[in-house]
């Protein structure tokens, strides 16, 4: 069967540049190569930014880290800023996926919050370059990224709002409309200030504090501390 999008190697539509790929890499569809290049550029940007800061990063730095040509860079992105936005989006997509998965695997909301926070800290600690890119460099990358940064942080609000469900009227009366926003802001501030100070390795030790902080308005201090110190 002929596939018009991904023609087979021996078909006449097979792009000649792919025919020049080294042995063992034949048969890669164009879309795959292209996506692969794009991913390499994104990873290259993260490395270059970790080395030089966003302001000090040039397209030459990015293409060197990605081991692709300048021309390939411009086939994928119009500018350094555009590449940064793509990198930022891909980091946030991955982070959201991991947090969401961890959260959904728990039956009880307090444990789900704990699992979600643990997943976030683990990702950031394991990927210090991406942590820096998404929490530090994003702030200097201009208005487009700042807008995405704000939206990404606000997108964590519903995880906390879920904690209102089933609380007593007294507890609910004590929660103001901005409680969740303030919790998210406080958590992100603690995390990003560690990343700023190059203390990314310490992030995971913040887990009990963050869990207790997040749960206290819903469960009270004593119960929140119990969940924080369990596990």
């Amino acid at each position: 069967m002929r596939d018009p999008v991904n023609p087979s190697v021996d078909s006449p539509e097979y792009p000649p540049e792919l025919a020049r790929l080294p042995p063992g890499r034949h048969g890669l569809p164009r879309e795959f190569v292209s996506r692969n290049q794009r991913e390499r550029l994104i990873a290259g940007l993260a490395e270059a930014v970790a080395e030089n800061g966003y302001a000090g990063t040039t397209i030459a730095h990015i293409t060197r880290h990605a081991a692709v040509s300048r021309r390939t860079f411009y086939e994928h992105f119009g500018s350094k800023d555009e590449c940064f936005v793509a990198a930022y989006d891909s980091v946030m997509t991955e982070l959201n996926r991991r947090v969401g998965d961890a959260f959904e695997q728990e039956q009880e909301w307090p444990q789900a919050i704990r699992a979600g926070l643990a997943a976030m800290l683990q990702f950031l600690a394991e990927e210090p370059h991406l942590a820096r890119l998404s929490m530090v460099e994003a702030l200097v990358a201009g208005p487009v990224v700042i807008e995405r940064y704000d939206a990404a942080i606000q997108s964590l609000v519903p995880f906390f709002e879920a904690g209102r469900k089933g609380r007593s009227p007294e507890v609910l009366a004590g929660l103001s409309p901005t409680t969740e926003e303030a919790l998210v802001g406080g958590i992100v501030s603690l995390i990003s200030r560690r990343i700023f100070a190059d203390r990314t390795a310490e992030l995971q030790s913040l887990l009990p504090d963050l869990v207790e902080f997040a749960l206290t308005p819903y469960l009270g201090s004593a119960e929140a501390a119990k969940v924080a110190r369990a596990g």
Binding site: G174, T178, F196
Partner: protein
């Protein structure tokens, strides 16, 4: 030049001292930078933008600051020290801790509402403006941390509270204010007082006590404004 002027200063109006003019110019430049930074982000701001916004000569900028970065650090220090001064003036003498937090928070919100561009400079842009600015941000944050930390002495479970609690509370308050500044809801900043007080008191005093305190505070404020 002033020395060659034949005009005497008006009676009762002292000639403006050189220091006064310089201080005034510096504040104008600082405000110019803050206004530009809140519109287009600190990184995109040029000295030409600041000069134009402040309505001064380019030379005057360089007489006061060596670079955009130096000007930024001055803006940050100016804003942070003004805000802290007002917090201390409002709250420093109050012995009762929850009342002290409330008075300090009210003074801080009033400052942010009055100086939104400078407040944004301190709370957000500082983190994007290089290591020295981050360092200064951290130091000024510690001033707020110590105000909140006193709450551990009056809390029934003060000894068990997480070490990072104060940092997280201040981060939360800053974030809420930053969101309001972004949405240009400057006029609504002071309305946030009861909920921010409640948010910060809850971990120390429990939700119920915190809420009662915050509501009492709002009532007192309403009575005071009705009386005034």
């Amino acid at each position: 030049m002033a020395q060659n002027s034949t005009r005497r200063p008006l009676p009762g109006r002292h000639p403006l001292s050189r220091e006064f003019i310089t201080a005034h110019q510096r504040v104008r430049i600082i405000n110019g930078l803050a206004a530009e930074a809140s519109e287009k982000g600190y990184r995109a701001v040029t000295i030409a933008d600041v000069v134009k916004r402040a309505g001064i000569a380019r030379n005057t900028f360089y007489e006061n600051f060596g670079s955009k970065e130096e000007c930024f650090r001055a803006a940050q220090k100016y804003a942070m020290s003004s805000a802290l001064e007002q917090v201390v003036a409002a709250a420093g003498e109050i012995g009762n801790w929850p009342e002290r937090v409330e008075a300090g928070m009210a003074a801080f919100l009033a400052y942010v509402a009055r100086e939104p561009a400078l407040a944004r400079t301190c709370m957000v842009e500082a983190l994007a403006a290089g290591p020295e600015s981050v360092q200064y941000y951290e130091e000024s944050l510690q001033a707020f941390v110590s105000l909140f930390r006193l709450g551990r002495d009056v809390s029934p479970h003060g000894g068990e509270l997480p070490e990072t609690l104060e940092e997280a509370l201040i981060g939360g308050v800053f974030w809420i204010l930053y969101q309001r500044l972004l949405l240009a809801e400057t006029d609504r900043i002071e309305e946030l007082l009861p909920e921010l007080v409640e948010f910060t008191l809850t971990p120390y005093l429990g939700a119920e006590t915190a809420r009662r305190r915050a509501l009492d505070g709002a009532d007192r404020a309403a009575v005071a404004s009705a009386d005034g």
